[in-house]
Subunit: 209 residues, 2 copies
């Protein structure tokens, strides 16, 4: 993708009203890209969904590519904040933290099933955003593992590979139990899946001391 | 995607020569779809890469969509057989089996970096093939886990969710250490990553008896 449009990305809105309009456009873009995919999606349809004049779009985003990139960043932030909120609710040890982070992610994925399609399409439409999404998530997990190791709750030899392994577990459990939830699944299937995955981690990364 | 072209898919080649030509077209399609993506790829370019006359293409595949679907199936088979070969080499216990399956997958991914792009693009171009690829892989892993549990080497409560979790680990380790291998990585970084992931499983799914 040509990078030139990043050079003309407008400054972030300075007013509350501007921030609300930008938010409406991002939410509309989530629906538009999620339903139609990047290539079929149009700026006109995004502004129509948002109830915003077509011309206003360019006050906030330089192009269709630009809003797509900003949306990937926005969804990354959403995943991060969904977990952070859950983790802030109470003091948890490191294994509870991973369980809660997975539960938060599964809940977020159930509420925002488009997230998989949009992030996955970023591999083709905005490869740098795609890679940043996963590299940053792996770094967040690694940070949690290190805190758990320092606290003596987790093994002290955990490294980047463990973080990628845990991220992969979480992403694929979300794919199976949120996006591809099946008719035969029990109502608490996602919850059971999260516990099953956590049972791997309790013994697999928990400290033996 | 319209399903009509599946109705006109030619019968598999009956001769050895036909099978070789079909194989050449699939290999050429791997390079073409891997480099250019589905939408930019062309049948003319695939036949040119394969050194096959344009008209011959339709002896083997009904359309660009049809060869893409067959290619996803072919890559699925490649992943499956790469693991099966490694596993057949010697008698292994269930945990060695998972370690060997991951090592085989990482080696396959390093040799066929296009596989990620092609499988991932299938989510958009051939969603049924995409889903089948992962559902079948999860079933294979689950089958191995059940054999390990029957043999007393693995926990006896392993279920579908554990298989998806292990598949996710493997896919994301392949993404990081095969497709996105970094300059700062040690020469044996993928090997180390595989061992790190396996260290989660040894304690996480191994039998406690």
């Amino acid at each position: 993708m040509a990078r030139t449009d990043t050079d003309t990305t407008p400054a972030p809105p300075a007013t509350e009203r501007g921030r609300r309009t930008r938010r409406k456009l991002l939410d509309a873009a989530t629906a538009e890209f999620g339903e139609r995919g990047f290539h079929e999606a149009s700026i006109a349809s995004i502004t129509q969904r948002a109830g915003v004049a077509l011309g206003s779009f360019y006050t906030y985003f330089g192009s269709k590519e630009a809003i797509f990139r900003d949306l990937v960043r926005d969804l990354s932030d959403g995943v991060r904040m969904a977990a952070a909120q859950r983790l802030a609710e109470r003091d948890m040890d490191a294994l509870d933290t991973e369980r809660a982070a997975l539960a938060a992610f599964l809940a977020f994925a159930r509420e925002h099933k488009e997230i998989y399609r949009i992030i996955d399409e970023a591999e083709f439409v905005a490869p740098e955003s795609y890679r940043a999404h996963y590299e940053e998530a792996a770094q967040r997990i690694l940070g949690r593992l290190r805190i758990g190791a320092q606290g003596g709750q987790l093994r002290d030899d955990l490294e980047e590979a463990h973080a990628w392994a845990i991220m992969g577990m979480n992403v694929f459990l979300g794919l199976r139990y949120a996006v591809w939830a099946q008719e035969g699944d029990a109502p608490d299937e996602a919850e059971r899946a999260a516990q099953a995955a956590n049972s791997i981690l309790v013994e697999g990364i928990g400290s033996k001391n």
